[in-house]
Amino acid sequence: MNCLRHRILVVCLASLLPGTTIAQNAESATSRPRDAQTIFATTCGWCHNKGGREAGKGPQLMNTTLSDAEIITRIRKGKQGSMPSFEGAFTDEELNGLVAYIRALKPQ
């Protein structure tokens, strides 16, 4: 298991434990976790239409077949020519929140 996968697994498992504080990614400097809806309206919505419910500049996120780990990797690493890298932009808690938000997306 490579370092990244190990790290993501640790993060995901830690989130399941009650009372666990997820360690902040050393590269991010946000002082509070932002909720996923706000992050979408601030940044992600530029490409992911209707809060991720519809394809637009970027693909539809609702009902994505990507795994949680793949979603987090995509947010962190981006995709050349399609999506920027958000490495260091969001805390681990925010990243997990984004995954949960995407998983919960329903048609409006």
């Binding site: 940044t43 394809a55 637009g56 981006g78 020519g81 958000f86 932009a89």
Partner: protein, 573 residues
């Protein structure tokens, strides 16, 4: 017959008189661009910004014989090819993604030199409005280019070797850099930073063309600290610190008033939740100077001499940064015409005083109207929550692709976009650490206008009144610049990849060619060393405005490569 060949003879004389193959491109030569019709020396064609070629070797009588002369592929062409080529003395210069520049023999396409900037790749990977480059400037023996990571560079025009590079922006913190072409004026190179939805202050810079030293900087958000604070006071709650703005496309220059005219970007966040109480509440209370404005700046000192804010408290992302500054004269009076991204076109005198405003596109409801004196009527200011049918769509009633003015027909030819959006406005806060992020303020999506379908059009208009002479409709809005010529031709590169030549007087289609992929860049005409007239057009899809096309329209957009850029060059047999 004499008149027909007049422009070509002048062009040949200019080529011969310059002596060497690499003639100097001086300020005077750009200022007097009419005298070298075989060149395209600056982004907008000349300081008059007409995107017009005085050449007529290719004309309505023979354009049906136009054929491909040669092509050139730009490597690593992520997000297509969005640049405007330049031509001087039969040599073509053009830029592409990742800050690459080629110099080509304009007759054969042979590569004379190639340059690729060493970039901060980690930074570039984190940018949204990237990695494309929309153009370069020529002057003082150099080729000038703004880089993705916040530098202005000068390359030796003959060899492509780096002469100097100057770091202007802290792009590593601000995330944005430069994607627009610079403007060479007198002894300076002027360039505007990206801004808009990016939470900083959108500076415009002037750099000494010979030494590379920064001479002045002007903050489009709030002005400079040493100018009157009235501008800063138009941003409540210190929102000027993350106001956006910017000047991400090249402006124009009027030698008679010695003013550089530059359009500024929108404020940030794009969508405010204030509703009608925008002067006192919301994300950025106030008119938000100098966003969504035109600025008249003294190029020598950087002093702001005049301005007009086209959209006070722009709440819809309708930049003034797009668009050409057409310098015209009619009945002895001088005008300046500049389109706003909303689809309204503003007509000014040469001091920036509004003379008229006219509507290029039909589907507009962000205001009821804009009066001839520039006053907005019936603003549609949004509150938190869902809204339907805001028109036009965020990509604009016009986008950054240029129109063209033809002095022979007296008409202005411009692409208009008919589309709308649904959106849900939400309160956001700027993210500036560890790097700046977009600050939009809404979720949104593209929709057909009520009672209509999304489409685009190219229309021929009186530039001062907007009176329409003719219009050609396109199923999807074209996103490339237009070119008109003294041969009475209008060249229209459309989104599907078809390049057409229309009769500039009637709009009749005279010739077309399938260039194989969508157009999202520039088009020029020039004379090669073989004394022939060429048409050079950028092909290659993938700009942000076109990103919605694959999902919304389907074919052919969902089959286009997004990493291909090819310069296609045409001539008569």
């Amino acid at each position: 017959m004499k008149h027909r060949h007049g422009a070509l003879c002048a062009a040949l004389a200019a080529v011969l008189l310059t002596g060497s193959a690499w003639g100097d491109v001086t300020y005077e030569r750009i200022r007097d661009a009419d005298k070298s019709p075989g060149d395209w020396l600056t982004y907008h064609g000349s300081y008059k910004s007409w995107h017009y070629s005085p050449l007529d070797q290719i004309n309505t009588k023979n354009v049906d014989k136009l054929q491909v002369a040669w092509t050139h592929a730009m490597p690593h062409s992520i997000r297509g090819l969005q640049s405007m080529p330049l031509a001087a003395d039969g040599i073509l210069y053009y830029s592409g993604s990742y800050n690459q520049v080629f110099a080509l023999d304009g007759t054969t396409g042979e590569v004379l030199w190639y340059y690729r900037q060493k970039l901060n790749d980690d930074l570039v990977s984190k940018q949204t409005h990237s990695p494309y480059n929309r153009g370069i400037a020529l002057g003082a023996g150099s080729v000038f280019m703004g880089t993705l990571d916040g530098k202005l560079v000068a390359l030796d025009m003959k060899t492509g070797k780096l002469r100097w590079e100057t770091k202007l922006l802290d792009s590593e913190r601000l995330t944005v850099g430069f994607t627009g072409a610079p403007l060479f004026v007198k002894d300076k190179v002027i360039i505007g930073a990206q801004g808009g939805e990016w939470p900083y202050r959108g500076p415009i810079f002037a750099v000494d063309a010979n030494s590379g030293k920064q001479v002045w900087k002007f903050f489009t958000v709030g002005g400079n600290d040493d100018t009157p604070s009235d501008a800063r006071n138009t941003w409540g709650n210190d929102s000027w610190k993350t106001g956006g703005g910017g000047g991400w496309m090249p402006g124009g220059y009027d030698p008679e008033t010695n003013l550089v005219w530059w359009g500024t970007g929108n404020p940030s966040p794009l969508y405010d939740w204030s509703g009608p109480d925008w002067l006192k509440s919301g994300a950025r209370p106030g008119t938000n100077l100098y966003t969504s404005s035109i600025l008249g700046i003294n190029p020598d000192s950087g002093e702001l001499k005049a301005y007009h804010q086209q959209l006070p408290h722009d709440a819809w992302d309708f930049d003034s940064a797009v668009g050409e500054f057409l310098m015209l004269e009619r009945a002895g009076k001088k005008y300046m015409v500049h389109p706003n991204k909303s689809g309204f076109v503003f007509v000014y005198d040469r001091n920036g005083k509004v003379q008229n405003v006219w509507r290029l596109v039909k589907h507009i409801n962000f205001v009821e109207d804009i009066k001839p004196n520039g006053t907005l009527v019936g603003r549609r200011d949004l509150t938190e929550g869902s809204h339907k049918q805001l028109c036009p769509f965020i990509a604009g009633g016009v986008s950054w692709n240029s129109g063209t003015y033809n002095p022979k027909t007296g008409l202005y030819y411009k692409v208009g976009n008919e589309w709308c959006m649904d959106l849900t406005v939400k309160k956001t806060e700027p993210i500036v650490e560890p790097m700046a992020q977009l600050n939009i303020g809404a979720d949104f999506n593209l929709v057909h206008p009520a009672g209509d379908k999304v489409h685009g059009h190219v229309s021929a208009r009186d530039p001062l009144t907007g009176a329409k002479k003719w219009e050609v409709r396109f199923p999807e809005p074209p996103l490339a610049s237009l070119l008109s010529t003294a041969g009475n031709l209008l060249f229209v590169p459309d989104a599907r990849g078809i390049l057409r030549a229309l009769d500039a007087t009637s709009g009749a289609e005279l010739w077309k060619h399938n260039d194989g992929q969508g157009h999202n860049g520039g088009i020029i005409s020039y004379v090669g060393k073989d004394k022939k007239q060429y048409i050079a057009v950028a092909t290659g899809w993938g700009g942000l405005a076109g990103d919605d096309y694959a999902s919304f329209f389907g074919a052919p957009y969902n089959t286009f490569p997004k990493d291909s850029g090819v310069l296609m060059v045409f001539r008569l047999p």
